[in-house]
Amino acid sequence: MPFTAKSGKFSASINTLTMGTGEKAIVLGGENVFPFYTFDAPIANAPKVGIEITDGGLEAEPDCVKKYYEGCTTVADMAKKAATFEGVDFLSLHLEGGDPNGENKPTEDLIKIVKEVADAVDLPIVISGCKNVEKDAEIFAKASEVLDGRNAVMLAAKEENYKNVGASAGLAYKQVVGAESADDINLAKQLNVLLTQLGVDAKSIVMNVGTAAAGYGYEYVVSTMDRIKAAALQQGDATLQMPIITPVATETWGIKESVATEEDMPEWGDQEARGIDMEVETAAADLASGSNAVILKHPESVATIAKMIKALI
């Protein structure tokens, strides 16, 4: 008697969303099954992998990442280089230097970098904010303007600034609007509703529902994503059918497993391997739980995760 499995295909599906334009454009979502459940139904659009660089340039990168960007002097150089790494589908420019509690770089300086980077690569671009809601609103408005026509992702609108970000990125410049809710499933839904009520096309919204590094309260991440996919697919809840994008690098490269040097923790061994595996294992768990795209930092992590995705689809 052969093994017969009941199909777990749903009548509802995740929205398809295009990032970028032209030949390098990529499509997220569209599946009507749980992550990687290709045995239930084919998954047309494999999850995508992005690489993150920051406005801080080479200096801001961990030592183990610097060597991959040898010879780069500007952020745009790094972007060009990053575009050549194996497995890279899109580029995320993280403007962390804009944080008023940090470097507090003026918006104009950051936008100059955005423009240089955009001119340097034809990959789909994600602009990741500095986490300060007022500053982000300003950054995303200007970035949307200079990236007009690039179909870029503004990551992300939050409860406090969704009106501004939705209006500039979504309505004025038709960019993709990220909606950020930190492991709060009700807020995730609410933000999608609010953005669509504002007039933003539901098909141009991508969710960042939050992540954590593996071991750091990751159970919330799994359950948030599990429940969102269940609502979207099983309950057919159209307000949660947006694809999910997950910035992994920002979580994993700041924790001690990645930061502690070999001198600090001799028994832990090679620091680079620790950094990569923390990033890779977190990303794999994110994808298994429902992320349609992950943003990573180390080129080796990008290559590994791209390979894993390919093997599973």
């Binding site: 009700n186 807020l187 509703v193 429940r227 609502a231 099983q234 309950q235 809840d237």
Partner: protein
């Protein structure tokens, strides 16, 4: 668990304006009412064309095509005593948004409606009633069993038979109300779906009272496991209650704007 299924009841020949529109094949009043109901949150629309003995087939086809072409293949409940008209309606029905509902079978003269639903892969509302009103829940469950067996014999999945306990009017049958609620619990314990004309309870009451009674009853019935009802979706209080109960039951995720979606 899926969301509570609201079947909008306002496309009925009992309403003079709809009766006239059906007779004259006038799309406008039909579309207007359909839109009002869908905007208010109806999932299915009931299309009650009455006995429609003479031109039922033509009328049902007309109504199905009219509604589905205007409202993105809205799923419909086909409601008439004319079986041929139901078949005609299904013959032009698009299932993209859900199976058609046959409204309705009972355990007496209309039991063949189940055969009809089975033959057409439709959902069937099954009224747990024989001749006259059932005297107690033993009798209702007897009918329930008869209907369930009949459907399964004809190859239906149990989930496609939506059992109707027959809601009774409070004025006159107040003492039967808890029986109906207990009956819903029995359906639910059995793992069966259920529906019914819930607002029947408030028949004959002052207009201002009816939404209050209907809302209270729907909350109690949903607690007992009711999975659907044939109601007026333009009753705001009722719809707010249903959406709120869906949140409590975990049928939908809460968001601050839950009443607006």
């Amino acid at each position: 668990m899926g969301k509570f299924v609201v079947i909008g009841e306002r496309l009925s020949t009992t309403a003079p304006i709809i009766n006239k529109a059906f007779t004259e094949r006038d799309p406008e009043p039909v579309l207007k009412r359909a839109e009002q109901q869908l905007k208010a949150g109806a999932t299915y629309l009931d299309v009650n064309i009455g006995p429609a003995e003479s031109d039922g087939e033509d009328l049902m086809k007309w109504a199905v095509q009219l509604l589905q072409s205007h409202f993105d293949n809205v799923p419909l409940a086909l409601d008439t005593a004319n079986k041929k008209a139901i078949e005609a309606g299904i013959s032009v029905y698009n299932r993209a948004k859900g199976k058609p509902i046959v409204n309705s079978a009972d355990a007496a003269g209309r039991i063949e409606y189940l055969d009809l639903a089975a033959a057409n892969d439709a959902i069937c509302i099954a009224l747990c009633n024989g001749e006259g009103i059932a005297k107690d829940n033993d009798e209702r469950m007897m009918y329930c069993q008869t209907l369930l067996e009949r459907g399964m014999e004809h190859g239906m999945e149990a989930e496609d038979i939506w059992f109707d306990p027959l809601f009774l009017v409070v004025k006159g049958m107040q003492d039967k109300q808890m029986q109906i609620l207990e009956c819903i619990k029995m359906f639910s314990d059995m793992g069966l779906n259920s529906t019914g004309g819930l607002s029947n309870n408030s028949n004959g009451m002052p207009k201002a009272i009816r939404p209050i009674m209907d809302s209270a009853l729907v909350a109690m019935a949903m607690m007992q496991g009711l999975t659907s009802a044939i109601v007026n979706p333009n009753d705001l209080r009722l719809m707010e209650t249903i959406k709120s109960c869906d949140v409590f039951k975990g049928n939908t995720l809460y968001a601050d704007s839950y009443l607006e979606i």
